[in-house]
């Protein structure tokens, strides 16, 4: 959070906030290389999940864990979300949580469709067409 520590000096009350470009998202280069390497390692792991034929819950869990770790690193470090203000963080990161509702609804719906197909077409028949 080093750029948070550097505040512009005393400003007149009505002055518009300066763009503050000089201090915008300036971080040591090393962190990008570390994240880059971590993303490579995590991608290799998720590739190996397929290569070694993990199945069932193990496969499911490993894929999702690696996926969220990668997504988190990209958003937090590469996209600098970690250093943004809380107002922006919440505005961007909270709305996608609503998608869980959509996923839950469609999951219930597809379950219904599946059993309707099984009952009316027979499991081996599949949907017509």
């Amino acid at each position: 959070m080093e750029h948070e520590a550097v505040h512009p000096g005393v400003q007149p009350v009505l002055a518009p906030p300066s763009p503050d470009t000089k201090h915008g998202q300036q971080h040591p280069l090393g962190i990008y290389f570390v994240i880059w390497a971590l993303l490579f390692v995590l991608s290799t792991f998720s590739f190996l999940v397929d290569y070694f034929h993990f199945e069932g819950f193990q496969r499911w869990a490993l894929i999702v864990i690696f996926m969220w770790l990668k997504a988190g690193l990209i958003v937090a470090i590469f996209m600098h979300m970690r250093w943004e203000r809380l107002a922006l963080k919440y505005a961007i990161l909270i709305p996608p949580l609503l998608l869980a509702v959509l996923v839950a609804l469609m999951s219930i719906e597809s379950n219904y469709t599946y059993w309707t197909r099984v009952i009316f077409f027979g499991v081996l028949g599949g949907p017509p067409g």
């Binding site: 505040h7 503050d20 470009t21 998202q25 994240i35 991608s43 998720s46 997504a71 922006l88 961007i92």
Partner: protein
């Protein structure tokens, strides 16, 4: 707005208090955030919903079909030097896209150092990685189309596989292609020194946000469509 502490960026406190203070002022909610960056984030948020709709509909058709889903491990296998390696092309595409994200992150950093040459070169490298990615995707599409995959059917199982594949990877590939054009444009402008007058290199970070987002979407497609 009872006192000016809420609007003065210099005296902001962090934490929940700052969130409430930012949102309750009548000027602007995202203080000390370049407006272009805030707008790009909001665009990316809307794009998140589009891709989520695709992935959710993919989940819906996949879990409602009574036919077996094609084994992606087999479908996307390549035979290299006599060995059949599962998913190898997708793995290479993933590494290419991650590398492009890496060079983009460095470009943003050099942009703020006002090192125009390095910034433009790194952005050019990012765009080249992007072109490589799209080319490999074109190869993959060609291979699958020749094998008989169509949006309405395929030789291996559930007919919905084709429509999901073409829709999701096609839309993502379009994002990468637009990103390549976008990055090339900004790289040329950086190199020419268009941003020198104001010394404002936020544009590089904004372009970077778009590019990292493309990489981010691929992380989810890779997990849900290819590996699941």
């Amino acid at each position: 707005m009872t006192d000016h502490a809420a609007t003065d960026p210099g005296t902001q406190s962090q934490g929940l208090k700052s969130l409430v203070a930012d949102w309750s002022t009548d000027q602007e909610a995202f203080k000390r955030v370049h407006w272009g960056k805030a707008m790009m984030w909001i665009f990316l948020l809307s794009d998140t919903f589009i891709f989520s709709c695709f992935l959710t509909s993919y989940m819906t058709v996949r879990s409602s079909t009574t036919l077996p889903w094609p084994d992606t491990s087999e479908v996307f296998a390549l035979t290299i030097a006599g060995h059949k390696i599962p998913m190898i092309l997708i793995a290479i595409m993933t590494f290419v896209l991650i590398s492009s994200s890496g060079t983009m992150a460095l470009a943003v950093n050099y942009g703020y150092r006002r090192d125009r040459r390095t910034t433009a070169l790194l952005m050019g490298a990012t765009a080249l990685f992007g072109v490589t990615f799209v080319s490999m995707q074109a190869f993959e599409w060609t291979k699958l189309i020749l094998e008989g995959v169509r949006p309405w059917g395929n030789p291996w199982g559930a007919p919905q596989f084709g429509s999901c594949f073409f829709m999701i990877t096609g839309f993502h590939g379009m994002h990468v292609s637009i990103g390549v054009i976008y990055l090339t444009t900004i790289a040329i402008k950086v190199f020419r020194g268009d941003f020198e007058r104001k010394g404002n290199y936020e544009v590089v970070e904004i372009a970077g946000l778009y590019w990292h987002f493309v990489d981010l979407v691929w992380v989810f497609i890779f997990a849900f469509f290819y590996l699941w």
